[in-house]
């Protein structure tokens, strides 16, 4: 007891100014932009810390990456030097991966698959989610886990031909939106264009190209958003627009609009 009290007394006597204060350095804008550019280039593959130019923990690019993660713009899988960073709107989800595994495994009739076989179907980012996806597929009965010695093999419920009536599968949980849905593609593309150009009102033709969408689909979506006040169409300057810009114009209130600002 005495020792403990002595230890406590020693702690209290330490002068406040001798405590280390962790300084929080601001995010360097140049580093932030560099990290974003690298992540965009990497797209769905993701980028390692080395590929992002992170040399050591807490350097400018590392801080920039942390800030992006904090803001919800990027996701990091894994940790340490093997971590993989990817833009949020390109990041895979457990549910999407589970669907993919389910679909592919169902094609492998009368085959049992090891984890490595299914890992071969995954991108580097998806592989981080593989175990969780497999657990959810086993839980839902889409995969059957088989033990062989120390290893686990999986068989698809369809190809194994379970004897007897299968209990009805629980209804799958509602799926969260996945990155390839139009809204996310458009918003992701919009964010990239704003980041590159510096202006909130982007050219609709550029948005279409960046999102990789058909004109009709994009125009319909933009018009719907405009009606709801989530997109503000701008007429721009028709005389300065090239053919591509004019063709991508969205007509609203009887006039063609060359630009749009999304409310996000």
């Amino acid at each position: 007891m005495r020792k403990g009290k002595a230890r406590q007394a020693k702690k209290k006597s330490r002068a406040p100014e001798r405590r280390k204060v962790r300084r929080v350095s601001p995010v360097n804008e140049e580093a932030r932009v560099a990290v974003l550019v690298a992540l965009r280039r990497a797209a769905g593959r993701g980028a390692s810390l080395a590929q992002l130019g992170v040399r050591r923990n807490d350097d400018a690019r590392h801080r920039a990456l942390r800030a992006l993660v904090g803001a919800g713009d990027a996701v990091v899988f894994g940790d340490g030097r093997d971590a993989l960073a990817i833009l949020a709107d390109r990041a895979p989800s457990k549910e999407a991966l589970a669907k993919k595994i389910d679909a592919r495994a169902s094609l492998k009739r009368a085959a049992v698959l090891g984890r490595e076989d299914m890992a071969a179907w995954c991108s580097a980012a998806e592989e981080y989610l593989l175990d969780a996806a497999l657990r959810s597929l086993v839980k839902s009965g889409r995969l059957v886990a088989l033990r062989r010695g120390g290893s686990v093999l999986y068989g698809h419920a369809d190809s194994l031909g379970a004897k007897g009536p299968m209990p009805p599968a629980a209804p799958p949980p509602p799926e969260p939106p996945v990155a390839h849905e139009p809204r996310f593609r458009i918003i992701g593309a919009y964010r990239r264009l704003v980041e590159q150009g510096g202006f909130s009102d982007v050219v609709i033709a550029d948005l279409r190209r960046e999102a990789g969408m058909a004109q009709e689909e994009l125009a319909a979506w933009l018009l719907e958003q405009s009606r709801m006040g989530r997109a503000h169409l701008g007429r721009g300057d028709w005389s300065l627009a090239d053919d591509a810009a004019r063709q991508a114009a969205v007509t609203a209130a009887g006039e063609p609009h060359l630009r749009v600002r999304l409310v996000i």
Partner: protein, 686 residues
């Protein structure tokens, strides 16, 4: 439709939808672009922080204000900023310069014109009075605190001088003003030293600035001396007598033989000196507007970028604001700016919003109320059905676009068709702008960039004239016209330094002789304004200049009426290029070119030639300069005078017709006709 009768009986409340004068803006709509205004005001705030003088106040970036299309309220925002700052800043509205080699001259000229304009009315102090008084008051207070001034409580005296420098030292307080007039010479060495010690890196000697300020303050009744001070600040040459009178150091004067580039650099130095000295008083806000016009020329756009970069780098106590519509900016200007210049703009830019339905209702409702539209008509006009329809597919509209929709709706309610083919609309708009400018003496100052634009751009295509740049090493001439058998070279010389004009006359003679050898009749043309003193003045080379004016040198002293129409043409073009009116820039150019037919002819004919034209054609001829000057001064001094009385007091029997023609060309004079009497009234302008 309910109350169509009311609508038909009243003028359209939504007729005027373009802000021509940002200083006079409509009351803002609640919430619209408040964030943009706050952003701008916040950026200026560091420039207002005490204590004075602010010797190191510098903003790190210029501000870009953009809108996705015209009519979102950029000019309105600048006007709101000025109101918001409430006299704590000097706004300088910079229109696009036309001559890249004289860009700084152009900006300095606008700045000094702005400073030299009375703020509170024709007899009130100017912004330059305020600046000069604040600089001198600060230095005088230091002298008092240092014990250099005998008698009285040092600190109390210093505080008194600083309490209201314009009133105490600017002439209202006769005791103190008289004291300073007497003691200025004694205090000057100390003041010069203190100004240097303040850490301001002035290009001109501190003594020259102090002398210019002192003479400016105490020359309110001496127009010539005051003009000398202003000319020096504009970077103009002064003759030796003027130099001696003011006490300016010769090293701080441009030399007549200086090249155009040297003159431009000197003007840049003057401008940054003014910015530095603004630390004693209030900062500048330089607003570069109508930037679409820089898109016409790659060199202009590049130089514009350089100008903004240098303003940010070297301009103390100032905020540079650039307003632009997004497409012209991103497609025409930005690609021509060097990367280093682009980085001088703050990111993100200030981006304007459109109106939402509530704001639209408020804006239209206020306009109806101001125009005294009855309640029933107003209610019918702003029906939920109509407004809901306007905002069905878009939740935000540009303010001007919405007001245009209101204009159409009003006409529809009144059972009238909307005007007009573009040409008809152009004529009306042009006349309206010219009339408006005629009522604003401040807008009728010398603007060499607009005059150069006129002869360089508008005249293209007139009778096959070939227009080229004429880059004279001393900046005497800028533009050249060539027609079969004829040549005209244009200069935009605002100064009245006789030595410089001596050089100009000699160059003009050489040009004329050289062209004659090639079988071409050539002349030089100078476009000046009525505010410029006549050329020649009482100079020893006056006879030589008079001879030149009869043969190869044509000096126009444009009347205010002509100037109003020329500036209206530029305003009309700028509105077209910015998308503020339905017509295109090309349509406006063609329209203006046709309107100025008589003027083009006079520009190419020999100086004394008469050009045919209707008596009402204002560009076919001007009244005699001497007559115009006399009439202007007499009516200004009398405020209200009968035609007969005035005629009797003139130096020559000009005749009533000539006098009335002189009045027609002077928008400051109103001709009032009564029963058998004609009275000339001096207009009181705001």
């Amino acid at each position: 439709m309910a109350d169509g009768n009311s609508a038909r009986d009243q003028p359209n409340p939504f007729e005027d939808n373009i802000v021509f004068e940002p200083r006079r803006v409509e009351r803002p709509v609640a919430g619209l672009n408040d964030a943009a205004l706050e952003s701008l005001a916040a950026r200026v705030r560091p420039l207002l922080a005490p204590p004075r003088p602010r010797t190191e106040s510098r903003l790190s970036h210029a501000v870009l204000v953009t809108s996705v299309e015209p009519g979102f309220g950029k000019s309105h925002l600048i006007g709101r900023l000025l109101s918001r700052l409430g006299g704590e800043a000097t706004l300088v509205y910079v229109r696009p310069f036309q001559n890249p080699a004289a860009c700084w001259r152009s900006i300095l000229l606008r700045t000094v014109q702005e400073l030299d304009y009375p703020e509170g009315g024709p007899s009130g102090p100017t912004a330059l009075d305020s600046l000069a008084c604040h600089v001198i008051a600060d230095l005088v207070a230091r002298a008092m605190r240092a014990g250099l001034v005998e008698g009285g409580d040092r600190e109390a005296s210093a505080r008194h001088v600083l309490s209201d420098p314009v009133r105490v030292l600017g002439g209202q307080d006769e005791v103190w003003s008289g004291w300073l007039r007497q003691e200025f010479g004694n205090l000057l060495p100390f003041m010069e030293s203190e100004l240097r010690r303040a850490g301001l890196n002035l290009q001109a000697l501190s003594g020259s600035w102090l002398r210019a300020f002192f003479h400016y303050i105490y020359s309110r009744e001496d127009f010539q001396r005051r003009t000398m001070c202003v000319d020096w600040m504009k970077g103009e040459s002064l003759d030796s007598g003027e130099v001696e009178e003011l006490g300016i150091r010769p090293s701080d004067l441009p030399r007549p033989e200086d090249s155009a580039s040297e003159l431009n650099d000197l003007c840049k130095g003057r401008l940054f000196d003014l910015c530095a000295l603004a630390g004693f008083h209030r900062p500048f806000v330089f607003c570069f507007d109508q930037t679409e016009l820089y898109g016409d020329d790659a060199e202009l756009a590049t130089v514009f970028g350089m100008v903004v970069a240098e303003m940010v780098q070297n301009g103390l106590n100032q905020m540079t604001v650039v307003t632009a519509n997004l497409d012209p900016w991103t497609r025409l200007i930005l690609p021509r700016l060097q990367l280093a210049y682009r980085d001088r703009f703050a990111t993100p830019p200030v981006e304007l919003d459109g109106l939402d339905i509530g704001q639209a209702r408020e804006l239209a409702g206020r306009r109806l109320e101001e125009r005294k539209v009855d309640e029933a008509t107003a209610k019918a006009f702003l029906s939920a059905e109509w407004l809901g329809g306007v905002f069905a597919e878009k939740q935000r509209h540009g303010a001007r676009h919405f007001l245009q929709a209101c204009r159409s709706r009003w006409e529809s309610m009144a059972g009238r068709h909307m005007a007009a083919a573009p040409e008809e609309g152009l004529a009306e708009t042009y006349a309206r702008i010219a009339s408006g400018l005629g009522q604003k003496p401040k807008r009728l100052q010398y603007e060499p960039d607009i005059l150069q634009w006129l002869v360089q751009e508008v005249a293209r295509g007139w009778r096959g004239v070939v227009i080229s740049a004429h880059r004279h090493p001393r900046g005497y001439f800028s533009v050249q016209w060539d027609l079969p058998g004829r040549r005209a070279v244009f200069g935009f010389e605002g100064g009245t330094n006789w030595r410089r004009w001596e050089g100009i006359v000699r160059e003009s003679a050489m040009l004329s002789e050289g062209a004659r050898a090639a079988g071409v009749v050539a002349k030089s043309v100078f476009l000046r304004v009525r505010r410029h003193p006549p050329v020649p003045g009482p100079w020893k080379i006056a006879p030589e200049i008079e001879v030149a004016k009869r043969s190869h040198m044509h000096v126009f002293r444009l009347t205010d009426l002509q100037l109003a129409h020329i500036y209206a043409a530029h305003e009309l073009y700028a509105n077209a290029v910015q998308g503020d009116i339905a017509a295109s820039g090309a349509e406006v150019m063609a329209f203006v070119r046709a309107r100025l037919e008589a003027f083009w002819q006079r520009l190419v004919e020999s100086p004394g030639a008469t050009v045919a034209g209707e008596p009402s054609e204002i560009f076919a001829r001007e009244p005699e300069e001497a007559l115009m000057d006399e009439v202007h001064v007499m009516v200004r001094d009398a405020l209200f005078i009968g035609l007969g009385h005035l005629a009797a007091r003139l130096s020559r029997p000009w005749g009533d017709g000539a006098i009335l023609e002189a009045c027609r060309h002077d928008p400051a004079i109103e001709v009032v006709r009564g029963d058998g009497a004609v009275v000339l009234r001096w207009r009181t302008h705001d």
